[in-house]
Structures are given as structure tokens and as C-alpha cells.
Symmetry: D2
Subunit: 382 residues, 4 copies
Amino acid sequence: MSKGTVVLAYSGGLDTSCILVWLKEQGYDVIAFLANIGQDEDFDSARKKAENLGAKKVFIEDLRSEFVEHFILPAVQANAVYEDRYLLGTALARPCIARRLVQIAQKEQAEFISHGATGKGNDQIRFELTSYALYSDVKVIAPWRIPEFYNRFKGRKDLMEYAQKNDIPLPITPKAPWSMDANLMHISYESGVLEDPKCSAPTDLYLMTKNPDEAPNVPDVLEIEFKNGKHGVGRIDIVENRFIGMKSRGIYETPGGTILLQAHLDIETFTMDKEVRRIKQGLGIKFSELVYNGFWYSPECDFLLHCINKSQENVEGKVQLSVYKGQVYILGRESPKSLYNEDLVSMDKQGDYDPCDASGFIRVNAVRYVRIKSRVKLEAQG
Amino acid sequence: MSKGTVVLAYSGGLDTSCILVWLKEQGYDVIAFLANIGQDEDFDSARKKAENLGAKKVFIEDLRSEFVEHFILPAVQANAVYEDRYLLGTALARPCIARRLVQIAQKEQAEFISHGATGKGNDQIRFELTSYALYSDVKVIAPWRIPEFYNRFKGRKDLMEYAQKNDIPLPITPKAPWSMDANLMHISYESGVLEDPKCSAPTDLYLMTKNPDEAPNVPDVLEIEFKNGKHGVGRIDIVENRFIGMKSRGIYETPGGTILLQAHLDIETFTMDKEVRRIKQGLGIKFSELVYNGFWYSPECDFLLHCINKSQENVEGKVQLSVYKGQVYILGRESPKSLYNEDLVSMDKQGDYDPCDASGFIRVNAVRYVRIKSRVKLEAQG
Amino acid sequence: MSKGTVVLAYSGGLDTSCILVWLKEQGYDVIAFLANIGQDEDFDSARKKAENLGAKKVFIEDLRSEFVEHFILPAVQANAVYEDRYLLGTALARPCIARRLVQIAQKEQAEFISHGATGKGNDQIRFELTSYALYSDVKVIAPWRIPEFYNRFKGRKDLMEYAQKNDIPLPITPKAPWSMDANLMHISYESGVLEDPKCSAPTDLYLMTKNPDEAPNVPDVLEIEFKNGKHGVGRIDIVENRFIGMKSRGIYETPGGTILLQAHLDIETFTMDKEVRRIKQGLGIKFSELVYNGFWYSPECDFLLHCINKSQENVEGKVQLSVYKGQVYILGRESPKSLYNEDLVSMDKQGDYDPCDASGFIRVNAVRYVRIKSRVKLEAQG
Amino acid sequence: MSKGTVVLAYSGGLDTSCILVWLKEQGYDVIAFLANIGQDEDFDSARKKAENLGAKKVFIEDLRSEFVEHFILPAVQANAVYEDRYLLGTALARPCIARRLVQIAQKEQAEFISHGATGKGNDQIRFELTSYALYSDVKVIAPWRIPEFYNRFKGRKDLMEYAQKNDIPLPITPKAPWSMDANLMHISYESGVLEDPKCSAPTDLYLMTKNPDEAPNVPDVLEIEFKNGKHGVGRIDIVENRFIGMKSRGIYETPGGTILLQAHLDIETFTMDKEVRRIKQGLGIKFSELVYNGFWYSPECDFLLHCINKSQENVEGKVQLSVYKGQVYILGRESPKSLYNEDLVSMDKQGDYDPCDASGFIRVNAVRYVRIKSRVKLEAQG
């Protein structure tokens, strides 16, 4: 008797292959789901592998344009950056994948979903909050939080042995001494040797961007697209705060996202009223925290997406920029919706502006100083 | 009969030289004050020039360490960045200069101060708000806002003619087709040919940083100091919102400030609690706006400086970084006040953390979703 | 030769009657505009008076429903309160009046508008920012900021004399020793004897609300409508911060607005997700400041109105409340869009909630404490 | 063999008496701790009761002045109000009690603490976050989250039976059909018949405040103190958002707190710069959320307390107010630190203020409108 059907977020790697087999061992029927979000993967062989391991069904779906349109673009519009630096490449992919995961679960009348995320990270939260939001009765099996599982598989060695016993193909290439998460927007690297925050990341770690010293000696004036970044743009090394309250060290490369962010910041300030910008900046910071913490499908994220979207009505135009040796340089911008007024701002023309007005403006801004000074004087005398 | 004494913020250039003479012409005694904040200037010859033009007294004062300690460092602690990009190099210098300006005015019993800032810019506000804050009865003479002055001097040509007539030495080097403001932290470039926001800045504009393509082919591991930046770090080209409501285009180079900002962001996140960081981030954004708008010496800026200072109590440690071809790369960090816990975060150790707790954490975070779903269901049925 | 046409915001009182005549004296054609926003006024006799004083045209328009629908209701939705107490009764009326004022100016091809607001208050800003926003080329004549006017009319006595000389009917009732602004939402009282902030307001000052001790001894269960408040609800006495930087003392009575605010707060929390509420609360505070400062017709206020409006999609339902002796008591509420779940929250039922989850929730919320404690311990030992 | 020692937050009531006995039954030594925070309780008989039930030790401690000085006063300074209405009377008491609880546990070398808070409420979180913050290795026994306990005691009836069997004295007075939490600041009422949000609270529910219709017919001019409120001030009925994600309905009476809050709001605005006030208002809202959610002893709450404390440096003075029939009326205020300037604000005097400055102030504030209008015009034409 089956305990029911589980849709497993399957990556094709060792961990989720073992989980697939283990779930079957526990008495579940397993449907494997693998999303194509632009990672470097042999999807055909992943399908075969899952079938061989006993998956009842295997879904492999191309979510790349959905990922770009519905997740990356809103984040660019929000200028979404977590803790001033991280562009949220993984955090944006998770709700995209999890959404499809629970859609499949609902279609296939599966009560359960499962994933291979650890019990200490953000991804478990992102997967599961999305799942609860879209399929409120779903039951989650998170093996890395189940004592029978994590006590049995204490390290990679245990997984390897289990794989051997269960005809799970072993990885051909030796495992890098860190873990990785890749999609069309970025690659993140963490744990393993990277856990020591004072150790420099190895120079051969980066897969998506060239080392800036090997980058071309000629800058590119950009056509914006999400592709491998030959100029080494978008590498960061940060210690960040996980939702769960730990600090963790991550190394990220986000070439296209970095360029898009810089370009968007530029054209936004060019076309958006400054006070709207100020309010929207606060909303964007809040949005970034929510996305990082896994609340993409929450009422407040819906609300913020709506507000941010409204703020973008007039944000259009062209930004010229060059990318060179790891850096993005804005060169110029133009827009039919520009709020920049060359006559008004020009030092050489008076435009529609009476400089005398500034005297009143400044003096009125100083009115509240006066009383404070008098108080200070009184206190000094008193 | 003198109309009184004016302390003039004197730069040694054509504009303030003409203003010096014009103020005397209007019947004032003029004291010239020139601050050394690290700009490239021949201070001796500037002193002689001012004396020759009839200044009653000339004060030339070295404010460099005051500028670094009391203005730049608090800004670094605040991660102060205006509109997500501008590091406030000019905005920080203004209150430092104006503070000394009014101190001199008070000491010399001068009723008036004067400056050469235009009527459209931020600097007039920064100078004057500082002045009103510290010397509330001061009277400000801002020639570029006085019709008799600005109607008489409609362009550089009028100033040149006036200079010739009044034995004001003409600038030897031809004027760059833009205006500049330099100090030890940064140089800003604006107006003139830069007023067209779609035109790229000339490559020979930059004086403080090397072009990245001429930068050394070997990165430097950094010793942090405010010096010329041979790696081309810290160049930006932005359209920003002036306090006065106009958008203006500015090009900035801030090599040391950029490195310091990156280093500080890193060590701060490493040593500061995440929720304190979140609150402090908001205060830092507010602080940046205030500094940009000229409110350094305001009650609210005092308050924020105090709060931000408190937040820095445990922010200490070392950041290793490399600078190469226009970019700063963080390599590693260590701190006696680190809140990073390698055991706790490690994927390979369990540390003091029970992964099962995460299940409850996630489910409780999803509690409020449930009711919303039910409502949605009811509405769909209704 | 006329200097042009002015549309004057005419109140029917002594000040604006004098201004009307004075404007004519200065060579302008004057159109008088008087808005009915629910104040107690004999509009027919005001029309005759303005005609007799030489107004070229007189517009008297009923803006009451526009005021309620387009200004008061959005403010209620925003829970708009300035500095935690003032419900913005005057601030909301100003853009409503000024909008019509400039519409008339445009229709009548008048280049000028004028008003009787003082040079120290908020109303001048509210009138004029609205006017510049909607009719950017308009020219404003603000007599109380024109030296020839305010030096000539230094007090009420001068106005009375001028009125007598110019056949301006003198007020029949003696002037109250304070100034008032009334509309259907509220009456404000300020200046005169109220300027001493430690003096209690006279008990016979209030016109809109009964003294609570004379209020009925039986509470009313409410039907919400903007009418005179017989229960004495909504009186406040505050010192507030004007936009212009002064603190001023105001006494307000806003019976209907107070009841609506309480009712709206109640039903909003009942039907709105808590995190949406939190974001929206911040937007509402910003909105209140903008309205107070006169920025109703600004891009940022537009943006906020849009966002706040979005947040109200599910805010509907009925609130039962009683009003008694100056106070509003919420009794109960119900809503088809309620997010309140009696089963879930009940102490007597378990509902769809596993109390064990709370243990994990709490422990994960405490994860970041651990490291801080260790640091503190280390420091104590060190 | 004892499993160890538990310090139990003991209230003297049925629930915690049963928990005391149950904990002994489970093999623990139990120390009972009862805090006097101003609730109406016979502490002597509570002590005897706990001793009779087998408590190894009983600590009854008077925390009233600590509660007032270290918890209530900072909250008043913060103008702490949760979701615009709740004055946090229970939320403030919890960390005060829990702090002493873990101090006793540490002194008595007890590994465990226990409390009678339910698994759905905020109090469990407040107790436990405080405990983890101050005693990071403490182990928490929360019976209402332990299946063996809550499945055994499904309702009051089960507790009563258990009491009878175990010689636990039964409550003499019949239980009110709701639960209560009282301290010197407030009483809260929730659950039971109050769980239906549309049902009015019974008029005889309130214990701390008189019904306004029975309140004296003469107002009191106030001397501020935390005592029973004979004027019926401070009653609210709200639906609020628990940290745990549920909405719950609470009825509160906080007479003294309400008066203090109104008085503090008044004197604060009178003596504090308006922009400091604005920043501090945001910090106070954040502070209120943290206190509500149980984060009193968190790094961010420490930080906020420090900042808010700084903001209060000049907040001093006297507020005259009257309380009458459920409402607080501010009558006047005075302060040696007042920033109110009667001359400056007066309509009858010009003071140190040039009304002409306001023209420039307003026009500069409208500068950014101009460009937007042109864009709109262009779009209309285009």
C-alpha cells in the first residue's frame, strides 16, 4: 500500500537521487520534477536517471521565459538588492520552481511535495512558503529535517554508499569543495571551504564570468541580454543574514543582473519624480527582504509588486553603458519620458527659474533652527 | 563708510575673485577664507592673490583631518549613498567649510558671509543652512541670486572683462568645458558639455583615477587610505535629484570612498545583528538625504549621527580586498566581534541547531496564508 | 488699463473683502470664488456683497460631495493623521478649493489667483502648490506676503478703517478672539488668545460639538454620517509642526472624521493581512505628511493614493460602535472579507494549527541570539 | 531520580497549579515563581498553595517599580502603540516577569523553565524569547504545546477533575467566560465569548475602569499616576494580528497608560524638533512591533531603546489635562525646553520672519512639478 504520491523537486544530482529512492523505500510513489531555469544540465539524461530510479512520472519543464518575465524583471524594476549587495538570483528562482511543483502536485493529485534543501538554509523556506501559499493543504517532506534521514546520511560518504547499494549512478566528476546553485541569472557558491569567511575564494571557482584579468582589453558597449558575461561583471563575496538568523558566506556571480540593475537605476532616476523615487526605494528594500525570506507569494509581496509596477509607468528609455574588466560604466541615457530639463538645470541659462526664490527656500528651511538656538542660548545662560 | 564685514568662501578661481572685488565695490570689507580640504591648489599664491585684490584679511586653513574624521568617517559608518549611487563627496565637504566660515565670521565680528555657489544648485543650501544653524543671525550675500550681480555677469565673458578691468589675474589654463569640485575624497564634474545627459563624458575628464584600461595589470591587495586611485575605482555617471527639485547630471570619482564603503558594508554585516542592520539601513538612507540636502547641522542629523554611532559599537575587524581595473573585490574578512558562527552555519555539522525547528518556523510563518486562501476559495464559490 | 484678471478665493469675511477691493485698487479685474464645503455661511448674501464690492464675476460652487468623495474618503482609507493626532480637516479642504479656483482661472483666462492666507501658515502652501501643479503658469498674488499690503494693514483696526472708507460692510458679530476654519468635516481654531499654549481653550469656543458634560446621557449606536456631533466626539488641542518650521497650537473638532477613522481602523485590521497593514501604515503616515504640507496634487501623493487604494480592495464590512460623552467605543464588527478565523484562534479548539510548530518558530527566532551571547561571554572573559 | 529543576511562572490559578503538579508527576523538582506586577492577588495564600502542591521553593517578588521604570516608561517615551491602538500592557509585563524567572533559574541552577501560556498566543513567545536571550542554554517546558499534556487536558473540565484528584484547591469564584491578564498598567480580556468579533463585550466585564456613564459628572484635572481609573478612560476593543499570524480579538483597559500616552505625545511635540519627531515616530512604531512580538531583549530593541532615549533629552514639561467620561482632554502645556515661539508663530506680530521668504519656499517646492507638466502636455499632444 502506497503512503501516497510525492512530487519531488529533483535536480539530477546525488542528493535528490538518493531522496527519490529513499522516499520510495518509505512507501511513497514519487513523481520527479526538474525545472529548466537556465542551469547547465543534461535534461535528457536526468529524465532517464529519474525513470531508472523508479519515478512514477518525470516532469522536465522549461521555465526560462517565465523566470525572466515574472520574477527577474519585477526584481529589476524594484532594484531588488538584499543587504545592499546580493541580487537575489537564487531567491527569485525558488518561487518560480515551487509554483510549478505544486501545480504538478495538484494536477497529479499528490498530497505531498519534497525537496533536497537543507534544514539550515533559506531555500527550504522559499520552497515551502510558496507551496503553502498556493496549495494550502500540501504536506511537505523535507528529508534533511527528518532525524531518520539526517542521522542516517551524516555526510557525503553515506550518500555515496547508499547510491552504490541502490544502483544510483555516482557522479562522474569529483564534487567541488563547495555547493553551487545555478540559473540563467546567476551562480551562487557556498559552504565547504567557503565557510571560512577570511579565506579568499579560489580563482577557478567562477563558472559564469571570466576573470577580469582575462577579460577582453576592449570594452563592450552593451546590448542587454542574460548570457554568459565575458567581462567578469557581477562578482560578489558577502556574509549575509539568513532568514533563520545565521550569518552565512556566499559568493555570487550575476553578470546580466548587475548590468540590468545599473541600467535600471539610471533610467529610473532619469524619468521618475524624486519623491516617488524615495518612497519606491523603501518599498524596494522591503520587497528584497521578502523575496530573500521566501515570501514571494504573500499578500504583502503582491501588494508591493503592484505598487512598484505602478511606479514604473514612465520608466522607459535607453541607457548606453560599457562593460569592461568587471565593471559597468554608464555612458549616457535618453528617454521620451525624461524629467531632466536641460534649460532649467543649466548653469548658463536661467530657464524658468528665479534664483531669488532659493533665498526664501533656504531661509524657511532654517526657520526651525532659530528657536532651537534660542533654547540652547537660554540653557547656556541658565 | 563700510557697510560691514563679509567673510567670503574664496576658492582662488575667477568667480570668487570677481565676487571679492564686487563686494568691495558694494562697500563691504572682505575677509577671504580658503579651506584646504585636499584639493589641488597653490595655497600661497591664492593667499597673495586675495591680498592683492584687497581682502582685509585672508584665512587659509587646513581642514583635512577634520574633514576625514568628522565628516567622511561618519558617512562611511552610515554607508551613506545618495539615490543608490552618489557617495556625497561634495555634500560632506560643504558643512565642514561653512562651519569654519562662520567661526571666522563670529571671531572677526563679521555680520555677513558670502559664497560663489549658483542659485540653482545644492551647495548654496549646504553653505547657508550650516551658517544659519551655527550663527543664526548671520546675513548671507549670495551674488548669484542677486539680480544686479547675475544680470551684470551673464556669462564667463562678462567675468573675464570685469577681471581685466579690475586687475584680477586671469586663469592661465583654459577653462574645462565643465565645472569641477575637488577634495581629498572625490572630484565631481558637472554642467557645460555634461549637461546633455546622453553624451558620454570625455575620457580625459577624470583627474583623480586612471582609466581602467591604463590601470595596472596586477591587482593590489589594499591598504585603505585616501589617496589617488591608480586602479580607476569609483567612477560614476548619474542623473540625480537636487534638493531644489531639478534633475542634474553629475560625474564623480571617489576612489577611496568607494573602497571604504565596500569594506565597511562587509565588516558591518559580519559583526552586526541582522535586525539592527535593517533599522540602521533605513537611518543611513535618511542620513544620506539630509547630508545631500545640506542638513548636516540639523537636530535630526545630530540625532541620526548619534544613533548610527551607537550601531557601530561592535563594527570592527579587517577586510581583505583587491582593487583591479575599476572594481573592488572583497576577498575575506575577520573580526574579534564576528557574529558569524562557522559551526552553526556549516552544512557538514549540526552545531547547536535542531533542523526540525525549521518546520515549525515555516509552518507558523504560513499560518496567515491559510485564512486568505479560504477567503479566496469562498469568493470563487460565492 | 487692467493689469489682468485675478480669481480670488473669497470667504465673504472682512479680510478677503478688503483684498478684493485692494486688488481692484491695484488695477486688477477681480473674479470672486467662494466654495461651499459645508461651512456655515449665507452664500446669497456673500454673492451680493462680492458683487457690490466690484467683482467682475462671482462663482459660488457647491463642492461638498467632491470634498467627501475625493478628499475625505481617501484620507479615511489612509487612516490619515498628522503627528499622531490631527485629522487634517483643513489640509484636505485646501486642494479641493484650489483645484476649482484654478479651473475657473483657466476657463476665465485669468493669469492670476489670489487668497487671504497669511505668510506664516500652511494654507498659503496648500493653495499655491495645488495651483502650480494644475496650472503651472499661474501667477499668485498673496497680499499677506506683499510688504505694501501687510505694512498698510498691520492689524484688524487698519482693515476696519479701510472697510469703512470703501463701503465694505463691517461684520455684525464681534470677532472671536481667535481665527477659525470650518467645513463639513471639522472646525479648527487657532491664534489670538489660543497662542499661549498653556492657556486652556474657553469652553464656549466649540461650535460643532456639544460639551461632553452637556451631551446626552444615553449613547448612540452609530449610523455614520458627517453631521454635527451631538456627543462631543473628536475634540483635540495640540501643538503641531507647520511645514514652514514653526510650532503652532491648534484646537480642532472633527466629530464625523474621528468616528470614521476609528471604524476604518477596526475594519481594516479585521480584513487586511498584517504585513500588508504594516507597509500600508508607513504609506499612510507619509501620505498624512504630504497632505498636511500641501502636496495633494504631487506625483508622490498620486502614487500613494494609488497604493493605498489598492490596499483597500478587501476592506469592507460593518462596524458597530457607540458614541458617548466625547468618546467612540467599538462594539463589534463583521465582514464578508474577514481574515479572522474563530476556529484557528480559539483557545478551546485546536483548529488547523499544531501548537508544536510554535516551539520551532520560537527557537528559530532565537537562533541569532546565541551567537551574540557567545560574543558577550567571550568579551566578559577576555 | 529527579529529571532536574524547573522554575515555573506560577500565577496561583487553576492552570499553573495543575502544571505544577503535572511537572512533579513527570519527575521534575518545581520552583514556583510569582511576580507581583500590580495584579489583584492574595500573594500569601498563593505562596501557601504552591507550597502545599509540592513546590520545592516559592519565590514571590514585587516587580512593580521595575515594571514601571524599566518597561512602562520607555514605552511611554516611544509612544508605543501596536497597530494604532493597543498600548501593550501585557507585552510589556512579559519580559519583566521572564527576566526574573531566568535569573531565579540561574541562581537556583535550574536547567528548565515552564509557563502556562497557550500554543497559539503571543505570551509563549514573549516568555521564551526573553529566556533564550538571557539564559541561552535554558530548556523550556511549555505544557500547552506538549501533546501528552494538551491531549489529556482538553478543556477546563479535565483540569478541574485533575485538580480534584490531586488536592489542588478549586477556584471559589466561577470562572468568567473569558480569560484575563491584569497588571498595574492594564487588564486585557480575550477568548471565550469574546471570540465572536461581532458580539459586544458585556458591560460588567471591565474591572479597572468605571463605566463612563457611571463616571463622575465632574472632570478631574489630572495628577498622573498609575491607579484605578475612575473616569473610564482607556477602554478599547480591537482585532489585532498576533505574531504567529492569526487575528485575535482583545478588549483592553489601560487608564493610566492612555493618559500618559496623550500627555507624552503633547509634550514631545512641544519640545522636539519636527524632523527628529518624524524619524523617532518610525522608530517607535518598529519598537512597538518588537515589544508586541516578544523581542524586548533583542539587539534591535536595545538599539531602539538607546535611540529613543536619546530623542527624549529635551522632552520635559508639564501638561494640564482633564479626564472625563472616558476621554482625555489636553488643556495646556508649558516647558523650559519648549520649541514653541509665540512671537514667531503669532498672526499679530511679524517676529523674526520675513513672509516674502515663503514665496520662494513655495515656488522652489513646485520646481519639480513644472517638468512633469511639460511631459504630460507633450504626451497629450503626442
